[in-house]
Symmetry: C2
Subunit: 348 residues, 2 copies
């Protein structure tokens, strides 16, 4: 891919830094694209080097999702903003039951950002994309002055195709549905907050950042009647359940004792003053399905490596007030309201 | 769409400011989406409030393009970052000959940004989308701390469908093709630079920011054999021609006397030390087509209100060095090289 001959010397990916010229549309930008982005992402669509990618899709329903990523710090245990930017958007596409296919990536870089870090992030994106079975087919790079950005922001957009027969959407959730979760909650948010606060525990808490398209494919194959899936990112389980309760016009009842949380995450949450219900996840999903298919769905999830800790955690109830309530481990009841204020800024 | 009842009071869109909580996934973010984004962009796909949009596409070739927008200042004569973020991506999609259909929008907001400005930008996006015949079907909002962003960055991604029979791509350009431009060059970049430098001329120079999907539709209907189209944004005509010369493995010869530039843009360029060939445009396109169809294509372009000043400006030549050369108005020849350094930072 590299047309090395047209540049006077190669980009210094070890000691170089992002300069304003890398976003100006001239030769420096072309070189950054040639020697970094095309090297890492190479695929037949991107390699055409048009300002857009062209691909064929079968007739039918197409899904599109986008996420801007501004996580701080950029590198963390279990991932970095590069892999996260792929996982986040792949998961948003997959939550509709769709098979994610193509991604775009828009970079907003701060002048002075180390090219070696950018290279690491771009390679991490490439690996994450390969693992998720998607191609990064088009992109854009902009540079802002020092102090007008924060190293690297990445906005990805994904496109996928919905298999016939699925109708998975927030408004499909019905009274009587069971609520399932694919694994332990709070890992991502607690990993980031521990890092920011400089906490160390006996074992490092790692982000759960991962793509879920393969788990989803296994789930919809066996239980195509899934009403809704959602990945509980910012705002955690609490925000996700409240959003769906609003859009479906239902209430929800969850059971604290059934909600999987790792002991060290639980301990860190206590230390940090966080509630795992409100903490972001980046590799878990919530699913709703008719009660009579819940056990079957749970079995499929548990068979999959990304759903080993799956659990049925609650029921959809009739409630004109659309409240989400939780039966605590002590047998009491509490409201699971949306958080009002900022809990975890820049967590994704 | 507004579910006003669930918030204690309405968002203060007159005097309020962006807070970290607006990006945290809780109630404040839901309210911003409900009372601002959904109000402005409302359409059946977005209104479903899933984390992804689902729509039907006919079988065939689909095009995807993305652009991150970081222009400074956010408001300028002839447009703002909102309308620009729609035009930029619609045009990238349209340059393949595709009909743009759906857009996503990712916002990265700086803490403290005025909600009144955000409202203005969002409404401007909505108008631009309506004029371009596209729907903004999904989105994302992130907030970064004061001093870690610059008011508002917007990344849009567009999806469109390519009509049967078109094959418009940089690598289709062939020796002998004519090069056409749809109108005057340099308006956008000069408008922004004049504003930044606090220059005032007898008449205000306005950005040419506009969507070109209707001009493109008229062009491909009459001359489906167009080899390539490109909108000469960052880096201007010079960067665009050099990029295409590289990817098609050809040379180019253009004629200065044929290149349309407004007299006041030309004067401002001289004053600012800019060369209109290198200045960004946001509402113009370059087209390549077989020589025997160039006059017909020119006629179609001139009939269209967005192509009134169209001109044939050059020829594709055989050149193993892939040089772009220009015959000057004085009859001399000069190389039109890529710019190396930063010319106009944050122009889009």
């Amino acid at each position: 891919m590299t047309k090395g001959s047209q540049y006077s010397h190669r980009l210094d990916l070890e000691n170089g830094r992002v300069e304003m010229a890398h976003g100006s549309g001239g030769k420096a930008m072309a070189q950054l694209i040639d020697e970094l982005f095309l090297q890492a992402f190479s695929n037949p669509w991107l390699d055409k080097m048009n300002d857009q990618a062209c691909f064929s899709l079968p007739a039918g329903r197409v899904v599109m999702a986008t996420d801007s990523h501004v996580i701080s710090p950029l590198f963390f245990p279990g991932g970095d903003i590069g892999s996260l930017s792929v996982h986040g958007t792949v998961n948003d596409v997959a939550m509709s039951g769709a098979v994610p296919k193509y991604l775009s990536a828009g970079f907003i870089l701060e002048e002075g950002f180390a090219l070696s870090s950018l290279k690491q992030l771009v390679e991490s994106m490439a690996h994450a994309a390969e693992a998720a079975g998607v191609a990064i087919v088009t992109g854009d790079t902009k540079v802002v002055e020092r102090g007008k950005g924060d190293g690297c922001f990445i906005t990805t957009t994904g496109v996928g195709v919905v298999p016939e027969g699925l109708n998975i959407s927030g408004d499909q959730v019905a009274v009587g549905d069971k609520i399932l979760v694919s694994g332990t909650l709070g890992d991502h948010g607690v990993a980031i907050m521990s890092l920011r606060e400089g906490l160390s525990f006996e074992t490092t808490i790692e982000s759960d950042s991962q793509s879920l398209q393969d788990l989803v494919a296994a789930m919809v194959e066996v239980v195509p009647d899934i009403s809704c899936m959602r990945d509980p990112t910012r705002g955690g389980l609490a925000a996700t359940l409240n959003e769906i309760a609003q859009s479906a016009g239902v209430g929800m009842q969850i059971y604290e004792a059934q909600i999987p949380v790792k002991p060290q995450v639980s301990a860190a949450c206590e230390f940090l003053g966080l509630d795992p219900l409100y903490v972001a996840n980046e590799g878990k999903l919530i699913a709703f399905c008719p009660a009579d298919q819940a056990e079957q769905l749970l079995a499929v999830m548990r068979e999959h490596p990304k759903g080993r800790d799956a659990a049925i955690i609650g029921d959809v109830t009739e409630d004109s007030l659309k409240f989400v309530q939780m039966e605590t481990t002590f047998g009491g009841k509490r409201m699971v309201d949306w958080i009002n204020g900022e809990q975890l800024p820049r967590i994704c």
